[in-house]
Symmetry: C2
Subunit: 218 residues, 2 copies
DNA sequence: CTTGTGTTTTGAACACATTCAAAAGTGTTC
DNA sequence: GAACACTTTTGAATGTGTTCAAAACACAAG
């Protein structure tokens, strides 16, 4: 738990930023505000973070890592893949609930895959792979047995599915994000149903076609 | 074809902007550059366009409208739905090819549905509905008969599918966007196959489930 | 013509993210 | 403890999207 002085400053800046972002909103908070609140000069914020959005990314990474126990609990809670996936995604929502709106800032830069903060880019590989690994664990020992030819790809696909829901959630202004939860309920059923159906003997050709699509994605 | 003086100025600004965007890139072009190139004061650009991105949107709308004949040709070219959809999407790519990179600017603001320039928002309804209508026309008189319960939703879903491909295309840096074309080939087959399968008698329950999902989307 | 009203155009001013050169601090080597 | 190198901190300067109050213009009504 030893934090050097620099670490301490770094955290102070992030904490100050988050507090202001939550109170006032991302766009309404200036980097000067953040610096003042953290008790440092404006330039200091840029010594530790590349951009205003980078602050949000730091928050995202930190929060996502802190969620590890909740993810583990979600997987442990049931043998049913459907429940596990729902659990994982709901855990993520719960974790980020307080700062939901803030994440739109990440969306804006993130849609461009060339942006360092893109969820598909090189820089975010570590978090991404960690997240994908959770879906691999969810499948392992669940009630769904995957055919060999698609097994390697499915965790990545589930991650993609989860990203879609996260996007929907971030932009969902309905009370308590009910709409997202309804969508989750409906689609998770569909997705797992599809995975189960994929194992049926006569589904071989269709799987081949699907695998071909995934290869195009790379 | 009468263009008032104001119209003329408006167009001059957009044309100057596009020229610069193509030569130099969106981020690298300043609004001052645009104004100078168009022979007006900086403020004039903002009299006609709300923002720098709004220039791109104006270009998008204009180009999309100009594509009407190509869309019509794509639908007329075949009775096979698969070919028609491919044709529509390829027509769009062809039309925007020269300014592909430019559209990332729209992505950035567009991911936020609250943004006026979002493809899902109120302001863009007209273009969106026009685009959706093309998919309705593609289905009409094609080799695919849709079940009543989903018929109304399918054009909108195809539009969504096409948006996904457009997103992929915009961000696809492969030579001539081959990867997107491969993805298009592979998925359009899958999509149409799915629509055909949906008509089979025993698919009723699954369709019901799918419709439920669409309702959650609203 | 003159006046008045609405439209178009102007360019300076503003706000804010980001950069940068210089200063201050910290620690290490002799 | 002096000299050096490296890290951290500073705050002024820069660049650019956007706003705005004032001018210039267009044109209708009297």
């Amino acid at each position: 738990m030893k934090t050097t002085k620099a670490e301490e400053t770094r955290n102070r800046i992030l904490d100050a930023a988050l507090e202001l972002f939550r109170e006032r909103g991302f766009a309404e908070t200036t980097m000067r505000d953040v610096a003042v609140a953290a008790g440092v000069a404006t330039g200091a914020a840029y010594y530790y973070y590349r951009s205003k959005e980078d602050l949000v990314m730091a928050f995202y990474v930190r929060t996502d890592q802190e969620a590890a126990e909740m993810f583990a609990a979600a997987v442990a809670a049931s043998k049913k893949l459907e429940k596990r996936i729902k659990g994982l995604i709901e855990a993520k929502f719960a974790q980020f609930a307080e700062h939901r709106a803030l994440l739109t800032a990440l969306l804006k830069t993130g849609v461009d895959p060339r942006d360092p903060l893109s969820p598909f880019g090189e820089e975010t590989r570590a978090v991404r792979e960690e997240n994908i690994a959770w879906y691999a664990r969810a499948i392992e020992g669940s009630d769904v047995k995957l055919p060999k030819d698609i097994a390697a790809d499915v965790p990545r696909l589930l991650w993609l599915y989860h990203m879609g829901l996260v996007y929907f959630w971030i932009t969902d202004e309905s009370e308590g994000q009910v709409r997202t939860h309804r969508l989750l309920d409906a689609t998770v059923e569909l997705v797992v149903g599809l995975l189960k159906a994929a194992a049926l003997p006569f589904m071989g050709p269709l799987r081949k076609k699907a695998v071909k699509v995934m290869r195009a994605f790379e």
